[in-house]
């Protein structure tokens, strides 16, 4: 019996540690992942916004995707040149593999030139979304606009 009690205590402590670690990572703005350049966003049906586009990868079985979409959608309404596009991972598995997306929701912060400047995964708060937005200078969109066409 003592062995089982010890096993349960270890299990509870391990679970608690996992929970704290997971909660801290939710929506944190991270550096972009190194992916092969030249992602053709338009072939995935994505028209990029002028300055920043939040490209969100979602799944039907993902409750956190809904609240994330609401936060990002609200932000596009209040800031100019900012777009939000939501993709279902089931329809874009090739893109998911190419971009190294491992979980839903994953949000790629893409500048006007089609380059990923940051990414977030897990439920994204309004503060975190604004933090990501600040990574793209206000002028970048206009300058990089032509590069995305090739």
């Amino acid at each position: 019996m003592l062995g089982q009690v010890i096993a349960l205590v270890v299990l509870v402590l391990g679970t608690a540690a996992l929970g704290v670690w997971w909660s801290a990572r939710q929506g944190a703005v991270r550096a972009p992942r190194e992916v092969p350049a030249g992602i053709d966003w338009s072939s995935a049906g994505i028209t990029l916004a002028e300055r920043v586009t939040f490209v969100q990868f979602s799944a039907e079985v993902c409750a956190a995707c809904r609240s994330t979409a609401r936060v990002l959608g609200g932000l596009t309404g209040s800031s100019s040149g900012v777009g939000h596009r939501e993709l279902l991972v089931d329809d874009h598995l090739d893109l998911v593999r190419k971009l190294g997306v491992l979980r839903t929701p994953t949000v790629l912060v893409v500048d006007g030139g089609g380059r990923e400047v940051a990414r977030m995964s897990g439920v994204v708060s309004d503060t975190q979304a604004r933090q990501a937005l600040n990574r793209v200078p206000l002028t970048a969109g206009a300058e990089a606009d032509g590069e995305g066409q090739s």
């Binding site: 009690v5 096993a7 929970g19 909660s23 809904r66 979980r103």
Partner: protein, 146 residues
């Protein structure tokens, strides 16, 4: 499938905490026949939740009857599909333990219970849906289909 209103998001979390307590009991029972029977009962509960949705499991009914009347209305409703998918993941994990247990591999019982406990406890406490986190990985590996 109609998803008009959705379900109270607190329901699956209350249900997960009940399930987590039962799974902890299986861990305490260890590699025993009693543990195997309790895990079988939990597996059948997950089967019910998979077939009818988390709100249709007995834990969901307990929430509706005894907990919800004491709470205010939820801030927002939740799609019923994610919690239902999570029930399916719970069903899979516990079924592996139960099957191995009935084939004489009793140590598999507390191990399967421990794995399911981690998922249920995290769901209850921080709202993490482990099955949902794993969904894309399973899709990428071709283990599940849309």
């Amino acid at each position: 499938m109609s998803v008009s209103k959705g379900i109270d998001p607190r329901g699956p979390r209350v249900g997960a905490s009940i399930t987590a307590v039962l799974l902890a009991a299986v861990v305490l029972l260890g590699a025993s026949t009693a543990g195997l029977w309790l895990l079988t009962f939990i597996m059948l509960s997950f089967l019910l939740g998979t077939l009818r949705g988390a709100e249709g499991s007995w834990q969901g009914m307990l929430f509706k009857k005894f907990v919800r009347p004491r709470l205010g209305p939820p801030g927002e409703m939740e799609d019923r599909r994610p919690p239902r998918f999570a029930q399916g993941v719970g069903l899979f994990v516990t079924a592996v333990g139960v099957l191995l247990g009935f084939f004489g591999v009793l140590p598999a019982v507390p191990i399967a219970a421990a794995v399911a406990f981690v998922a249920a406890a995290l769901n209850a406490v921080v709202g993490l849906c482990l099955g949902c986190e794993m969904y894309l990985l399973m899709r990428r590996a071709g283990l599940v289909r849309a």
